[in-house]
C-alpha cells in the first residue's frame, strides 16, 4: 500500500505542500447545491483535527481549495467535508464519484476556542451553509455537555427546502438540554416555525448574556448584524468568536494571499475574537 506513494509520512511533515491521499467513500447530497464528501485515507492512518480547522483539498486535474472540516473530531478515520458548489473547482467536486482519490493538506488554522466556553452558556449563530464549519464544534460541545451551561443553536436558512443538516438539527432539538431555533426567510402559509433572519432567533434565545460565549459563522456582511444583536443580549465583543474567509493558496502562512491587516488568516485565523479584529473589520477592502 505504501509503495504506491513515493512521498512518505516524514516527507509530509517536512513539506506541508505535499498532499496526503484520501478516497471519496461517500457523496451525500445535502440541500440544493451543497454536498458532503466522506473521505478515508489511503494510508489507513487517522486524521486528527480540532473544530474550526480547514484543509487544502485537491481534486486532481482540477485544483486545490480551502475547505472547512465539518465532521466529528472524535472520529479520526472519517474525514468529512461539506461543500457548496459555487465555482469552477467546487462544481467539478460536485461531480466526483465515490472511489475518486483526492489530496488533502492540513489541518490548518486556529480552531474554535472550546476551552474559553467551559463553564459558560454557549450560543451558536449561523445561517445557510455556515452550519458546516460550526458543526464539529456543536458536536464536540454536546459530547462534553456537562462542561457547559445552556446550549442554544440559532440557525437561519433561505426557506424550508434548504435547511442544512436538518436531521442533526432535529436530533439536537430532541435533546432536552439543548435549545434549537431555526428561522427561514420565507415560507408558505401554514408553516408553524419562525420566519425572519437568524437575528430573530438570537432575540428569543434564553441565555444569560453576561455568562455566554457566542460562536458565529455567517458571511462577513452579516457577521456584524449577529455581533450587534448578540451585544443587545449582553454578549460583548470579547465573548463573540467569528470565522472569516480570505483567498488561500498555501494554508501555511507563506504565500501572503490570506492577509487581513497584519493577520495571516490561515494561521492567525480564520477564527477570531470579534473585539480583537473589530477595527480591521470596519475597513472596507482591507
Amino acid at each position: 500500500m505504501d509503495a504506491l506513494n513515493a512521498v512518505t509520512a516524514a516527507d509530509l511533515i517536512a513539506d506541508p505542500m505535499l498532499p496526503r491521499q484520501f478516497r471519496i467513500a461517500q457523496v451525500t447530497r445535502e440541500v440544493p447545491g451543497v454536498f458532503t464528501w466522506t473521505l478515508k485515507s489511503l494510508d489507513r492512518r487517522g486524521f486528527g483535527f480540532q473544530p474550526g480547522q480547514f484543509n487544502m483539498v485537491w481534486l486532481p486535474g482540477v485544483g486545490e481549495i480551502p475547505l472547512s472540516i465539518s465532521g466529528d473530531c472524535r472520529e479520526p478515520y472519517t474525514l468529512v467535508h461539506t461543500i457548496r458548489a459555487v465555482g469552477p473547482v467546487t462544481n467539478m467536486m460536485q461531480q466526483a464519484r465515490p472511489g475518486t482519490v483526492v489530496g488533502v493538506r492540513g489541518p490548518f488554522g486556529r480552531p474554535w476556542p472550546i476551552e474559553a466556553a467551559v463553564g459558560c452558556d454557549v450560543i451558536f449563530v449561523t445561517s445557510t451553509v455556515g452550519l458546516a464549519p460550526l458543526r464539529p464544534l456543536i458536536v464536540e460541545v454536546l459530547h462534553r455537555r456537562d462542561d457547559f451551561g445552556k446550549v442554544v443553536i440559532c440557525y437561519g436558512s433561505r426557506g424550508t427546502e434548504d435547511i442544512l443538516f436538518e436531521a442533526d438539527l432535529h436530533e439536537w432539538r430532541a435533546r432536552f438540554d439543548t435549545n434549537v431555533h431555526v428561522t427561514v426567510h420565507a415560507a408558505h402559509s401554514g408553516y408553524r416555525g419562525r420566519v425572519g433572519g437568524v437575528a430573530a432567533a438570537i432575540n428569543i434565545a434564553r441565555i444569560d448574556g453576561a455568562a455566554t460565549q457566542a460562536f458565529v459563522c455567517r458571511s462577513e456582511a452579516l457577521t456584524r448584524q449577529a455581533v450587534a444583536t448578540l451585544g443587545e443580549r449582553g454578549v460583548t465583543g470579547d465573548r463573540v468568536w467569528v470565522t472569516l474567509e480570505r483567498s488561500m493558496k498555501c494554508g501555511i502562512g507563506l504565500c501572503g494571499h490570506c492577509q487581513f491587516g497584519p493577520s495571516f488568516m490561515c494561521k492567525d485565523g480564520p477564527i477570531y475574537r470579534f473585539d480583537q479584529i473589530e477595527a480591521l473589520y470596519s475597513v472596507r477592502e482591507l
Partner: protein, 376 residues
C-alpha cells in the same frame, strides 16, 4: 564600530577570490551589464563585472552610463534582487502520476549547487535577513528557500555613492554592511585601485587566506570610511521611518490613497523588484492525457485582482485598496508580523514604477496632513 578583521586586496586578488569560489564548487552570481541594465547573473571571471559603468536612477527612470574610471562596483542596485535565486520566481513543487488506483507523488529535488553572491549591498543583506525571518522562522518553514539559502557565500560591497532613489540611511539598512556577509569589500579608487576587505565569518577568512592580500593600515580604513560617508551623504530620497507604522494605520481612509490610485497602474512592478516581497501562488499543470499533474509555484503580486479573489469576487477590487495593501503591508503590518519594517530603502520600487510613484513621497503626503507628532 565593527570588530571585523581587515585586509586589502587588488583586483587580481578579487579575481582570485572569484576563482577560488568557483574552484570550491560555488556558482558565483554577481552584477553584469545585460541589455542596458545591471542585473545579477553568472560570473565566470572578474572580466564579467560592469567595470566603468554606473547607473542613473529616478522615479520611473533607469539608465546606465559610462564612468570616467574603472570602478567595478560603481553603480547601485538594478531590477534584480537576490530573492530570484533564494526564492525562485518559478518552481516545480511536485509531480503526481496515476498509479494503481491512487497517485504517486514525487517531490521535486532541491538543487545541488551552492551559490556565492558577489557584490551584495547592505540594503540587500537586510532584505535577505528579512526574507530569512519570513520564510525560515515562522511555524512552517519554506524548504525550498532553506535548501538554497543554506551554505550561500556572501561577498558584500559597501556603496561608494548613493543611487538616485536610495534611502537606506532612512531605513537604517546601510550604506555600510554590518553583518550577514562572509567577506565585505569597499572599493578604493585612489592612486591604486584596491579593495578593503572585512572578514565576516570563518569561511570568509579561509577564502581570503588563499588569495594575495596585505594588512590594512589606517590610511586604508579611513579611505574606506570616506567612501561610505560619500554614499551616506548623497541619498536620493529620505523617509522619516520611526513612526511610519502608526502613521499609516491611523490613516487607512486618507484621501491620498485616492490620489495615488489615479496614478497607479497596479502593474505590480514594485512587487517584482522589491527584495523583500515574498508572495507566491500555486497552480496545477495537468497533462492532456489526465494521467499526470504538476504542482507549481510562482511569484505573485498583491496588485492583481486574482490575489484576493474568493467566490463571488475580489476582496480588494479597487486599485486604491491594492496600493494601500502593498504599502501598509510593507511599512506597517510587516512590523507586527516580522518585527521590522519590510522596506530596506533600496529604491527599486521608485525606479521601476512606470509612472514613478515614490513610496517616500506618498508617506510624506500622508504625514503632511496628520497629527503634529507625525511631523517631518
Amino acid at each position: 564600530m565593527n570588530e571585523h578583521a581587515v585586509a586589502v586586496i587588488t583586483p587580481d586578488g578579487l579575481a582570485a577570490l572569484i576563482g577560488g569560489l568557483r574552484d570550491g564548487g560555488f556558482r558565483v552570481i554577481g552584477p553584469r551589464l545585460r541589455e542596458q541594465t545591471i542585473v545579477y547573473d553568472d560570473i565566470d571571471s572578474i572580466a564579467d563585472l560592469p567595470a566603468g559603468w554606473t547607473d542613473e536612477q529616478d522615479g520611473g527612470h533607469y539608465r546606465v552610463r559610462r564612468r570616467d574610471d574603472a570602478a567595478l562596483f560603481g553603480y547601485n542596485v538594478g531590477p534584480h534582487a537576490w530573492k530570484r535565486f533564494l526564492h525562485p520566481p518559478l518552481l516545480r513543487l511536485w509531480r503526481a502520476e496515476k498509479a494503481d488506483g491512487a497517485l504517486s507523488v514525487t517531490a521535486a529535488a532541491e538543487p545541488a549547487e551552492r551559490y556565492a553572491f558577489l557584490a551584495v549591498r547592505s540594503c540587500e543583506l537586510h532584505a535577505i535577513a528579512i526574507q530569512d525571518r519570513v520564510l525560515l522562522q515562522g511555524p512552517y518553514v519554506d524548504p525550498h528557500y532553506r535548501a538554497r539559502r543554506e551554505g550561500v557565500f556572501i561577498v558584500s560591497v559597501n556603496c561608494g555613492q548613493a543611487g538616485g532613489t536610495c534611502f537606506c540611511t532612512s531605513m537604517n539598512t546601510g550604506p555600510r554592511a554590518q553583518e550577514g556577509f562572509d567577506l565585505s569589500l569597499t572599493e578604493l579608487l585612489g592612486d591604486v585601485h584596491e579593495f578593503l576587505v572585512e572578514v565576516g565569518s570563518p569561511q570568509g577568512a579561509a577564502l581570503l587566506a588563499t588569495v594575495p592580500h596585505r594588512p590594512a593600515g589606517s590610511a586604508d580604513t579611513s579611505a574606506a570610511a570616506g567612501v561610505v560617508a560619500n554614499a551616506e551623504g548623497n541619498m536620493g530620497r529620505h523617509m522619516r521611518s520611526d513612526d511610519v507604522r502608526e502613521l499609516l494605520l491611523e490613516n487607512l481612509e486618507h484621501p491620498r490613497w485616492d490620489d495615488v490610485a489615479e496614478r497607479c497602474l497596479t502593474c505590480g512592478n514594485c512587487t517584482m523588484v522589491c527584495p523583500t516581497c515574498f508572495c507566491t501562488t500555486v497552480w496545477d499543470e495537468n497533462d492532456l492525457s489526465g494521467e499526470a499533474s504538476e504542482r507549481k509555484r510562482r511569484w505573485d503580486s498583491c496588485f492583481t485582482m486574482d490575489f484576493s479573489y474568493i467566490h463571488g469576487g475580489s476582496i480588494r477590487s479597487s486599485g486604491r485598496s491594492r496600493y494601500r495593501q502593498w504599502i501598509t503591508h510593507k511599512l506597517a503590518n510587516w512590523v507586527d508580523q516580522f518585527g521590522s519594517s519590510g522596506c530596506v530603502g533600496c529604491g527599486r520600487c521608485i525606479t521601476w514604477c512606470p509612472v514613478g510613484i515614490d513610496i517616500t513621497e506618498e508617506v510624506r503626503a500622508i504625514r503632511a496632513t496628520s497629527a503634529p507628532q507625525h511631523g517631518e
